[in-house]
């Protein structure tokens, strides 16, 4: 539902990278998404294509990789990827590792030609 806002942020970021890599051309952006992001990739792509038309991003491909959410121990900092929230840390036993929100949608790489 907030895919257009995400697409706008992605366009802004990608325009910066496209100018950095010139004279090479940005052809693809690889994105990591966890299932708790609440994002519909097709809607992000729709927004991205619409906003990037007539810019140097026109034709840039979005590639999606699904990753499990990361949970981080509040005590020792151990992090684990898991679909279901762990009840306790596997190292120190501290209860209720927290969900690392920062991982919900990340840029993993770009492809240039």
């Amino acid at each position: 539902m907030h895919e257009l806002a995400v697409a706008a942020s992605l366009c802004e970021w990608a325009l910066g990278r496209a100018r950095e890599v010139g004279p090479q051309r940005l052809v693809a952006i690889e994105l990591e998404r966890d299932p708790l992001s609440g994002l519909n990739p097709e809607a992000v792509e729709f927004g991205f294509q619409a906003m990037s038309a007539d810019t140097e991003l026109s034709g840039v491909r979005l590639e999606w990789v699904s990753v499990d959410p990361t949970y981080v121990c509040r005590s020792c900092g151990r992090s684990d990827r898991s679909v279901a929230p762990p009840r306790s840390c596997h190292t120190c036993g501290e209860p209720f590792p927290r969900l690392r929100r920062e991982d919900s949608l990340r840029i993993r790489s770009i492809e240039v030609d």
Binding site: H2, E102, I107
Partner: protein, 217 residues
């Protein structure tokens, strides 16, 4: 062809702005809550009740997000605290930039408590850090008690779950023990509070929770 690796969040700009909001609120000693629920769970009623409680105790203000109208801000102002409406138009959530833009408004001058009422939506607001001290998820007994299972991200990111409209429990199939089990399943850390903004039942716990957090801020 060449591939260049990154490890960057798409919403990193929002997070930078949220960090700025958090820094400014901390420097002013403001405790900020981000209230998130679907439409109709009772966020505005909870803010109204909190506004009435805050009057004479602690200087408070509210920001209220909706797609359209000033209705909620007007209701909250009538309850006794300054309130600013954020109309989001096509957007289904508040973002940190909208909050940052309002931090220096006179209505927020000298406050200790900031209540941010997000747009009614269980999905998108959970993804946006506003610079708050805590997210509070609000459910009402007029909804399904499986909401935590269906929309886990909000409950995993919230510090507290407030279950409102408990005066209607006898008239619905909603079961408190079931929603709490479901909420703890997806978010074991989550605190749970039951109350009714209509009758006032349970509100003392809510005020006490805010009071304790204010003392820590």
């Amino acid at each position: 062809m060449a591939r260049i690796a990154y490890k960057e969040k798409v919403l990193s700009k929002n997070d930078e702005l949220a960090a700025e909001v958090r820094k400014r609120l901390a420097s002013r000693g403001v405790f900020a809550l981000n209230l998130i629920s679907g439409p109709g769970a009772g966020k505005t009623s909870l803010v109204e009740r909190t506004a009435a409680w805050a009057k004479g105790r602690v200087r408070a203000a509210a920001l209220s997000g909706d797609q359209a109208t000033e209705n909620d801000a007007e209701r909250i102002r009538s309850a006794g605290i300054p309130a600013l409406q954020i109309t989001t138009g096509s957007e289904c959530h508040l973002n940190a930039g909208r909050v940052l833009d309002l931090l220096d408004c006179p209505e927020l001058s000298g406050i200790r408590l900031l209540l941010i009422e997000n747009v009614g939506n269980l999905i998108c607001p959970a993804a946006y850090d506003l610079g708050e001290a805590a997210k509070v998820a609000v459910l009402s007994v007029a909804e399904g008690d499986d909401k935590p299972l269906k929309y886990p991200a909000l409950f995993q990111r919230a510090e507290l779950l407030v279950i409102n409209k408990v005066d209607l429990l006898d008239f619905t199939d909603f079961r408190l023990e079931r929603v709490i089990t479901n909420a703890k399943h997806v978010a074991p850390h989550l605190g749970v509070m039951t109350l009714s903004c209509r009758t006032g039942e349970g509100l003392e716990d809510w005020y006490q929770w805010i009071d304790e957090r204010l003392r820590q801020t």
